[in-house]
């Protein structure tokens, strides 16, 4: 009995020691953060265009206001990619990436991936969609697919891969294939954040398919914040 008590006391003491050690480490730790803001010109609503709309038999009502409320703003489609200059990195394919087709729109409108990633295309509408790309180096056409169908397509081309739906001419999206595994997207306020980047020098790129790419070089130091903002122009 006494032996057991002794063992238990020792275990509790060890547990308390390590807990205090870990908590003390956390309380004194500082994050390495890279953050900033992206600015871009006011976006134009181009969801309603002449061709393809009036020359079509109507089977669904207009629900554009509803869509607009939930719609991501263009600034959320800005990708910030960090390319390490002071060490090598491997951009392995992502485990999962998907583009949905809902309310006759691609969601998300801009999808960042790494080369070799298999992107699943999912039709969530109650009518047909198609996805095709005629981007040189990544041409494909998945054909007309009904509701719920998931069609994977491996994307190998780096840069922009433009996607369209043959049935709904207003639908378009872009896959941005990056040669770095370090990337993020701006939030609705245009703010982006990288946490705990390895110290070193990086080339940061702000990318959006409708704007010119903007880049800058930063130096990241341990436990220090680095701020870098971008202004996108056409």
């Amino acid at each position: 009995m006494g032996l057991i008590d002794k063992f238990m006391n020792k275990t509790i003491l060890l547990f308390l020691f390590f807990t205090i050690l870990i908590l003390s480490d956390f309380s004194f730790a500082q994050e390495t953060r890279v953050y900033g803001r992206v600015f871009m010109p006011a976006e134009q609503n181009r969801s309603r265009t002449f061709r393809g709309r009036i020359y079509r038999n109507r089977l669904v009502r207009q629900v554009l206001h509803k869509q607009d409320e939930n719609k991501r703003s263009a600034i959320e489609d800005v990708i910030i990619a960090a390319y390490p200059l002071s060490y090598d990195t491997v951009a392995a394919p992502l485990a999962k990436a998907q583009i949905l087709q809902k309310n006759a729109e691609f969601i998300p409108n801009v999808l960042p991936i790494t080369p070799g990633t298999k992107v699943d295309f999912v039709n969530l509408d109650k009518f047909y969609h198609n996805v095709f790309s005629i981007t040189p180096g990544q041409k494909f056409n998945i054909g007309r697919r009904p509701t719920g169908t998931v069609v994977p397509e491996r994307i190998t081309k780096t840069g922009f891969v433009k996607l369209f739906c043959d049935i709904h001419s207003q639908m378009n999206a872009t896959i941005v294939t990056l040669k770095t595994p370090i990337f993020t997207q701006a939030n609705k306020n245009g703010v982006y954040l990288f946490k705990n980047l390895r110290p070193g020098t990086y080339r940061l790129e702000a990318i959006h398919p409708d704007f010119d790419k903007v880049s800058s070089t930063i130096r990241v130091e341990k436990n220090k914040d680095t701020e870098e903002s971008f202004t996108l122009t056409r």
Binding site: T49, N57, R58, V60, Q62, K66, N141
Partner: protein
């Protein structure tokens, strides 16, 4: 009058540009074509004077979409083409629609000149929407009925489009109607009714009328399954036009055209099977070289004529060659026998026109998002005539969208 009307629309066009949010885009269709030696625009869409290989602007279109606020929208199409004559036609506004489209509401209202709710082809009439170059026979083959003379065996046979009276197609090739249209989504993704009150029946090619014409045009669309869209269309109304040739007669509005049709699109993955069946019945006066056929009282005799046509399109998009397609069309138009009106002297032609069958094949390739190239071949044969190449067409169209 025509200039005044054009001026009005141009002013409206400009007003939209000035005061509202405007989206402008357009298309340019360049055509290289060849037609057989008996080619005629009335029969195979190639004017005989231009049947030898040549490069031409088939169409230049400027489309305007304007959000005018408060759920009102304005759509228009400014069109410049060599359609019909082979020569450049005057610039014209072929579409001008004011739409009321409340958000998340099942009904929309359109007034002005709008895309006809009738059938399938009016929605595929732009080169960028169509797999072929020629339109279906029901929309592009001129028959022995004129909107000034009625049943007239010379119509569809001779004369120059845009200059002479060359008759009508069964349904207007442009695919537009003038009037007011109500479009109701009865059941989302399943059932739709479009109903239009317009100024002339579906055969009429004019965007105005100089008689008290009126017609109703509609389409009930439904989708039994996701892979199957179907429509039932109808049109009924008057379509005759007052003209020096018929101005000794009154009440031309009493002559009518009725058309009923069904259209379908069956599609899955890389295949699409689509088509239309169109039946038309006409109550028209009759004219031969000796003049209008009248009864003993001098009233115009009424001929009851009918014809039907159908086409079936098969389209395949080879997955190994992204952006390309192959398409085939079989179509035929049949003219039915008719009974001569009582007390009216006999016109020998019966049935009232010659049956025609056409075969088409097309290949297309999307060079880029905004450039489409297509090549189409058609040949047609007439009843009791062996197939030949006199009416063959070989047409390629390069479409630029901007």
């Amino acid at each position: 009058m025509h200039k005044l009307r054009l001026l009005f629309w141009v002013l409206l066009f400009n007003a939209s540009l000035t005061f509202a949010q405007v989206d402008l885009n357009g298309s340019l269709d360049l055509e290289m074509s060849y037609g057989g030696k008996t080619s005629s625009f009335l029969k195979n869409e190639i004017a005989n004077d231009f049947r030898r290989p040549h490069l031409a602007i088939n169409q230049f279109n400027l489309f305007l979409f304007s959000d005018m606020g408060s759920d009102f929208f304005f759509n228009s199409r400014l069109q410049w083409d060599t359609w019909g004559t082979g020569k450049i036609n005057p610039l014209r506004i072929t579409l001008a629609t004011l739409s009321w489209e409340p958000q998340d509401f099942p009904v929309t209202v359109n007034i002005g000149r709008f895309v006809s709710p009738f059938g399938l082809y009016p929605k595929r009439s732009l080169a960028s929407n169509s797999s072929f170059v020629n339109g279906p026979l029901a929309y592009n083959y001129f028959i022995n009925i004129s909107d000034t003379r009625g049943f007239w065996p010379k119509a569809g046979e001779s004369g120059a489009y845009g200059v002479d009276d060359v008759g009508l197609t069964t349904v207007y090739f442009g695919g537009y109607n003038t009037g007011a249209m109500l479009d109701w989504v009865i059941r989302e993704n399943a059932l739709n009714l479009a109903l239009a009150f317009v100024n002339a029946a579906s055969a009429s090619q004019k965007d105005y009328t100089n008689l008290q014409n009126a017609a109703i045009v509609g389409r009930l669309g439904f989708a039994p399954f996701i892979f199957w869209q179907h429509g039932i269309s109808f049109s009924y109304g008057s379509f005759m036009e007052k003209d020096p040739v018929n101005n000794t007669f009154d009440r031309l509005e009493r002559f009518r055209q009725m058309v009923i049709a069904t259209d379908w699109v069956l599609a899955y993955t890389y295949f699409e099977l689509s088509g239309e069946f169109i039946y038309a019945r006409w109550n028209v006066p009759g004219l031969t070289s000796t003049g209008f056929k009248t009864d003993f009282n001098g009233e115009l005799g009424e001929f009851k004529l009918s014809n039907y046509s159908y086409y079936v399109d098969l389209k395949f998009e080879p997955p190994v060659l992204t952006g390309s397609y192959l398409a085939f069309r079989y179509e035929t138009m049949v003219f039915e026998n008719y009974d001569h009106p009582k007390t009216v002297s006999i016109i020998a032609l019966n049935p009232w026109d010659t049956d025609v069958t056409r075969y088409s094949a097309a290949v297309g390739y999307k060079i880029s998002r905004n450039i489409l190239l297509k090549l189409a071949v058609t040949d047609q044969k007439y009843k009791n005539n062996p197939a030949g190449i006199d009416d063959v067409t070989i047409r390629s169209i390069l479409t630029f969208l901007f």
